[in-house]
Symmetry: C2
Subunit: 354 residues, 2 copies
Amino acid sequence: MSRYWSNLIKNIEPYTPGEQPDDKKYIKLNTNENPYPPSPRVIEAVKRVANESLKLYPSTTCDELKSAIAWHYGIEKEQVFVGNGSDEVLAFSFMAFFNPGRHILFPDITYSFYPVYSSLFNIDYRLIPLDDDFSVTVEGFCRDNGGIVIANPNAPTGKYLPLESIEKILQCNSGSVVIIDEAYIDFGGESALKLVNEYPNLLIIQTVSKSRSLAGLRVGYAMGHKELILGLGRVKNSINSYTLDRIALAGAVEAFRDEACFRENCQKIIRTRENAVTRLKAMNFSVIDSKANFVFISHPSICAETLLQRLRERGILVRYFNKPRIDNYIRVSIGSDDEMDIALKAMEEIILLQ
Amino acid sequence: MSRYWSNLIKNIEPYTPGEQPDDKKYIKLNTNENPYPPSPRVIEAVKRVANESLKLYPSTTCDELKSAIAWHYGIEKEQVFVGNGSDEVLAFSFMAFFNPGRHILFPDITYSFYPVYSSLFNIDYRLIPLDDDFSVTVEGFCRDNGGIVIANPNAPTGKYLPLESIEKILQCNSGSVVIIDEAYIDFGGESALKLVNEYPNLLIIQTVSKSRSLAGLRVGYAMGHKELILGLGRVKNSINSYTLDRIALAGAVEAFRDEACFRENCQKIIRTRENAVTRLKAMNFSVIDSKANFVFISHPSICAETLLQRLRERGILVRYFNKPRIDNYIRVSIGSDDEMDIALKAMEEIILLQ
């Protein structure tokens, strides 16, 4: 620790992302990347803007991308905010809508960046326990709060909360902003977007990283009432006028225009997930019901950390979280059919060798 | 204002960037962009990584880019931090090294993002007046403080503070972090980098936006003692694990490898600036001595706002800041020789028509 560090960073525990090793070729089922390539239209657009215009700043308003997103979802451009990945959009949302001195609520098991943002921006929080089958409970979120964050489907469980429950939570929280983090919504869930014109306190956050195969491009977005969007703009314009480079902007626009590619890749992943779930259950794994591009699994005869290690020795990366209630689970991203076949066969062998 | 906004954003006044109009073709001398294209090697690198690998997250450590920067400057990779433009790096630095309750110091006339960051992170500040010829004074910065930020060359004046003065400021501030924002250092100033191994409280921030013609790529960087760099990493990893996309990373690496292109473009801009200064002085402009890629000018017979407006009517954009002491100046970015010739002729005509 340095004498020059602020008290803030002396006391914070940063988020740890899944590893991105480059020492050798792994089957990467650890960071929920999409196994299929992005739309060829994205690649073409990126190449097209790789020219002299890079000497100029990007758009500060990102209007073209906002319009493409608004068009895709059938909302107004003024209901869309874009940022450098959904993590940045989440961080900005904590600054824009939550206040120190008013505790916010999120589930005890969820995306581990939420407590980090809370610490960073000095926002107190209460953990609302998921029930025994890892479901978010409506009652838990109908109590005094200064804001709510719910990942739906939840991470790292993959468990989906039906829209009726989201709506009930919105109804009993008209005084605070309810953020629904829908990073994984395209793999079988129904977006809360249809509620966005009814509830001015609803903010939906999504990303092109997962369902649009663009984790490497760093584009996330929020959708909500235009007043919320203006609030996010105030944070962005107090930190960095241009959070998205010219190339990411151009590429992301095409990702929203190629509907067919997006739908097809999502369907493939859903099919692969369902096949994987069947095989995992046959191997006696306990599998949390998932509407995401990953499954969260536990096995009665091998502990999760050992399984993680054995898979790694075979060149297969998965993710493990050493946290209460989930420390005997591993999270396995849904890869291609071939990747999943290799991973599942490896698990069979590892369990047999126990 | 929305009832859902946090107190923070209700009370903040965000930064206003120079406009990026797309209604028609302007001669853009308003945002200090470089008139020359980036290295062809950058363009090639961007095209090379425009492929299926965009489905994967970028490097969290950005080691290749850090190594390229370290190699270019002859320092260690561990002395380099990279971020989404120097604005983001500055914002992270405010969080990493300054504390609420301890006022920081910066000049009364300087980059207008500094007071915005201060408000956003609740850091009190004192404005240290530049002297009558707009120079930073060493004495002003040798007083009690919790941190210092100096742009060198300063913005929007272009005025350069010699390295001896920077060193004196470092010597009388061993207890706090001194940030030297060198966004414009490559246009004739000498970087404080040579002091970096002597002063563990020195943080230098630079960007590829200006001297490397890559405003559209969004890459900034900080150089300093490895403990400071670790501190910046803690902030970044508490906000966004991946602030630089795969394409920006690949492009920026090549920008540091093509030394010849970089040097040549800087030299061209310096020559154009010196020619422009001669002509401006002949037109009776008062011209602040500039070591940046812009000049800050004032004319006795036309007020700055009128000049700005008349230039705009002729398709030439420059920048004006309605602030004490500088509200009769305009800032003119150094364009190509042809652009400057058109702008200077327009100014001659506008003044004649007064």
